[in-house]
């Protein structure tokens, strides 16, 4: 028996010893392989989204912001595990569950999210792992989902871009793609500042996919995007938007747009377009309404351009406000091409030429200035080049031919705002020169870049680019323009009770590309106004494209009233004091 016992024990010891061989194999020889598998098991890399910065108006009101929300994700592997366990327990009659199948989970989710449960179920069925069921779900709904305690459903933290003003300043702000890239306006031009840097962390997870925080390594916090502070004044923006809406109602134009600029700094206080769109619901956006006409449209400005001619003539002392030109009684042939006024005028002073907006008068003034000098003034006023340094997307350069490419009659057409293509922002910037003592301020729309804590990172100071005309000349031009907004002038409708207003109307026939001539039906009615006239606090351009209200198409009749209505409210908002002289007039 002893022999057999020894044999048995020997075998037992042998058996146990084979285990040590196996253990050495696993834990020493092949350990590396298993260490890798373990890392695959446990390692979890997570990206933490940075918050895209806000866009604020001049006084810090939020114009675009990022609201935290959740992408609803189904971890189908985990879900199936839990559901299988639940079914077992339910079958044993130990517990009751609301959901024991994927379809039931889908039904409950569908109910909360108002989505089709069948689609949700299909998405889950096809997936082996994480699948996104719904994107950018608000925290309210997410709360409901959490309360429902649906198995395997988790929320991925992300942000939704929100524009509290809806259509307000939509073209200035632009919008953001699904991938979080700014696609237009400031969202696009300042995208790199707004973005921020996503953070990430490397950590380990348990088998339930829950993070084990103690093992977190490489924890890099996200760096939230910078906030962009605009020069836009939300109140003025709002006023302008409302008045544009009213103008759309009254004149039924194809479009209407306006820019308000602070002349001494070049800051754009408001910029609005109709038609517009709501960047919050991009599903309904149509491409036509997305164009920021204020910077992208190149138009022949018509009579508002005459301000440039006047300024050039006065600055070069070719004429003064009282110099008289003969206006040919309404029709003048220059190089055998007729030029018409819409009234029949005889001798008019420059002041009156401005008031009546006589084409013939301005043609003659321009001939006095000469082609070269007129061209250099037009350039100095900022036409034929981009003004915004790309801060608003899609800005056009405009069209301005050099003098050697001018025709014989160009010197009679360009000074009255034809044969040149300008953008509305160029017009406003140029006219601000008149309001700002002759110096050209770089137009700015971004005032400041701040980090997420509100600390200033960059500041865009107002910048004088050049002195275009002498301050005295600017004052004279303003004086002349004040006459336009009078009973005798073309823009009586631009009056603002209690204030002295200067301005200039424009009524440009639009080029008909089919008939190759200027249209007699389609006009661009515009008005550029300064308030108050002696020391303008703001310059505002209103352009009404193809008004079809039937009543009128003149800038003085269509655009000037819009200016008046908006300017009154803006003056009120800016707390401007009515001028004493104007008060008297108003009292009378």
């Amino acid at each position: 028996m002893k022999g057999r016992i020894i044999a048995v024990v020997f075998v037992l010891v042998l058996l146990l010893s084979t285990l040590s061989v196996r253990l050495i194999d696993i834990q020493y020889v092949n350990a590396r392989n298993f260490i890798q598998q373990a890392a695959k098991n446990h390692t979890l890399q997570m990206i933490v989204k940075a918050r895209r910065g806000d866009i604020l108006d001049a006084s810090g009101n939020i114009m675009a912001t990022s609201v935290p929300c959740r992408n609803i994700v189904a971890d189908t592997i985990r879900m199936r595990q839990i559901l299988a366990d639940r079914r077992k327990l339910a079958a044993a009659g130990k517990k009751k569950f609301q959901q024991v199948s994927e379809d039931e989970v889908a039904r409950e989710l569908g109910r909360i999210l108002a989505m089709n449960p069948k689609e949700i179920a299909a998405k889950m069925r096809e997936s082996k792992g994480d699948v996104i069921l719904a994107k950018r779900i608000g925290l309210d709904q997410w709360g409901t989902i959490m309360e429902a305690k649906l198995p395997g459903i988790k929320g991925e933290e992300t942000y939704i871009r929100s524009y509290p003003e809806g259509r307000g300043a939509a073209h200035v702000l632009g919008y953001v793609s699904n991938e979080g890239v700014g696609m237009d306006g400031v969202e696009r031009s300042m995208n790199s500042y707004l973005l921020g840097t996503d953070g990430f962390y490397v950590t380990e997870k348990d088998a339930r996919q829950v993070e084990m925080r103690v093992y977190r390594s490489q924890d890099k916090q996200p760096k939230d995007g910078y906030n962009i502070c605009l020069t836009i004044d939300q109140t003025i923006q709002h006023i302008v938007e409302e008045e544009l809406d009213a103008a759309m109602q009254t004149y039924n134009p194809s479009g209407v747009y306006a820019i308000v600029m602070k002349p001494d700094t070049g800051e754009i206080m408001a910029m609005a377009n109709r038609p517009s769109y709501d960047p919050n619901s991009r599903g309904q956006m149509d491409i036509k309404s997305m164009r920021n006409r204020c910077v992208a449209d190149v138009v022949e400005p018509g009579s508002t351009f005459k301000i440039v001619t006047t300024a050039a003539a006065l600055n070069e002392e070719v004429a003064n406000l009282d110099t008289v030109f003969f206006c040919e009684n309404g029709s003048w042939e220059y190089y055998r091409v007729p030029l018409h006024d819409h009234g029949s005028y005889g001798d008019l002073s420059v002041r009156q030429i401005l008031q009546k907006s006589s084409n013939i008068g301005f043609a003659k003034i321009a001939i006095g200035v000469g082609e070269e000098r007129l061209f250099s003034y037009i350039r100095a006023f900022g036409f034929g080049r981009r003004t915004m340094d790309g801060y608003l997307g899609g800005e056009a350069k405009g069209k301005l031919a050099s003098v050697d490419r001018w025709s014989k009659i160009s010197i009679t057409r360009i000074p009255i705002g034809y044969e040149v293509g300008v953008t509305p922002i160029q017009v406003v910037s140029a006219m601000s020169v008149i309001a700002n003592g002759g110096s050209y301020m770089r137009p700015i729309i971004v005032r400041e870049v701040r980090d997420a804590d509100g600390k200033e990172q960059f500041r865009y100071e107002p910048k004088e680019l050049r002195q275009v005309i002498r301050p005295e000349t600017a004052a004279r031009v303003l004086e002349g323009l004040e006459g336009v907004v009078s009973k005798e002038g073309t823009a009586a409708a631009a009056k603002v009770p209690g204030f002295r207003v200067a301005g200039k109307t424009g009524t440009a026939r639009k080029w008909d590309a089919e008939k190759k001539c200027y249209s007699r039906e389609r006009y661009l009615a515009s008005f550029i106004g300064f308030l108050p006239a002696d020391k303008p606090k703001f310059v505002m351009l209103v352009m009404v494209d193809e008004p079809t209200g039937g009543k009128s198409f003149y800038g003085g009749k269509v655009a000037a009233p819009v200016f008046s209505a908006a300017a009154k409210r803006i003056a009120n908002h800016l707390d401007l004091r009515p001028a004493p002289a104007a008060m008297e007039v108003a009292a009378r």
Partner: protein
């Protein structure tokens, strides 16, 4: 210098090391579960086990022979009670437990001791008739077979196979005729050989076959068989793979106590059947090899005690105990290291679980009792079984 005393010392030392590692690692491996209550109850089981060991050690192992039939009957009743509603407890679809006063006990663990005592007593009493068919083979075979049948009936295939294997070894040592062993053990012997052939795929098929059989027997009880089948469907392969990852990623030195990642729900049963893999992950190869060495020491000292025993009863009892503990350790570690197909057996002295702990400790006590009463032993019955100092 007394050899049996020395054997008892080394045996006790190995067991204490295993117990120590066990309680520390149970604390670590259950850190994400109901840790404090698990550790508390396991400590209690250890104390109960130690008391049982001391009692067994201090009692002459031959005493049990006088009441062997009572013990056999108790074992059978315990196993049958598992099916009595109100007493029997069903956990995870298996009826392996009986409960009283908030405690649950696994009667099959008690049956282990009974079977070993019975075989030792039977062959010690019938030394002359070992070669006969009736006395030497069939009668004890029927008694053991009845108990094993009850255990198999509980769908506790692991324990059944384990005890069948141990019985064969005891038969072999006792000197039961070869051809009886060969004939009777053909089917079961095949199973065991397959286990040793480490062919998980075939083993699984056989296992599934047996399970199917037992399921058919229990067609009336829907929960049980299905759960066992589901466990198969979910893949014991996954469990074992995770266990290997735990062992392997521990490397030679381990990740450090409490640093196991795999215990975080990757390795199922991390505090019971698969605790060895967590030990490997946290303490490394040095600890796993040391544990294996401890079991080798248990086997060797036990074997020594068996050889030195006063009578056949003592020898066979000691051999049976050593074989049982070694088999159980081998199968458990074999499963954890994926040498063997997945089979739920506790790791002696280490895995959480009260009945197994107490049973194993009682068996150690029996071994020491055999050692104490061996002819060359001069240890007086008053002496404690564990030597103090002066061993060297």
């Amino acid at each position: 210098m007394n050899h049996s005393r020395s054997a008892s010392f080394w045996l006790s030392l190995a067991v204490f090391i295993l117990l120590g590692v066990g309680i520390v690692m149970l604390t670590s491996a259950s850190s994400m579960r109901d840790q404090s209550s698990l550790v508390r109850s396991q400590s209690l089981y250890m104390v109960v086990g130690l008391v049982a060991a001391v009692v067994m050690a201090c009692t002459d192992y031959r005493v049990w022979g006088q009441c062997i039939w009572v013990l056999v009957a108790l074992g059978a009743v315990g196993l049958i009670l598992c099916y009595v509603p109100g007493v029997g407890h069903r956990i995870k679809g298996a009826s392996r437990w009986i409960g009283f006063g908030g405690f649950t006990v696994q009667p099959s663990e008690f049956a282990k001791i009974v079977i070993l005592l019975f075989l030792g007593w039977w062959y010690g009493k019938n030394t002359k008739q070992i070669h006969t068919f009736w006395i030497g083979f069939l009668a004890p075979g029927l008694v053991v077979g009845a108990l094993l049948g009850l255990i198999l009936f509980e769908k506790d295939i692991g324990t059944t196979l384990l005890l069948a294997g141990v019985t064969f070894v005891v038969w072999f040592v006792a000197g039961v005729r070869w051809h009886y062993l060969a004939v009777s053990g053909l089917a079961a012997g095949l199973l065991v050989s397959v286990v040793i052939m480490k062919d998980p795929e075939r083993m699984r098929r056989i296992e599934a076959y047996v399970q199917k059989k037992t399921e058919q027997q229990h067609a009336g009880s829907p929960g049980g068989g299905k759960a066992a089948k589901d466990k198969h469907a979910l893949g014991e392969d996954y469990q074992q793979q995770q266990s290997l990852i735990a062992l392997g990623s521990g490397g030679p030195l381990g990740l450090g106590l409490g640093e196991s990642r795999q215990k975080m729900y990757y390795v199922p049963e991390a505090h019971t059947d698969f605790i060895f893999s967590i030990i490997g992950e946290e303490l490394g190869m040095r600890a796993t090899l040391m544990i294996v060495l401890c079991y080798v020491v248990v086997a060797a000292t036990g074997g020594y005690i068996a050889v030195m025993a006063k009578d056949a009863t003592g020898s066979l009892l000691a051999t049976g105990i050593v074989t049982l503990v070694s088999f159980q350790a081998f199968i458990n570690i074999g499963v954890v290291t994926k040498l063997l197909p997945n089979k739920g057996l506790a790791l002696p002295f280490i895995s959480a679980g009260g009945s197994n702990m107490v049973a194993c400790m009682a068996l150690v006590g029996l071994l020491i009792s055999v050692a104490k009463h061996s002819p060359r032993s001069v240890v007086s019955p008053q002496n404690v079984p564990f030597p103090q100092g002066g061993m060297a």
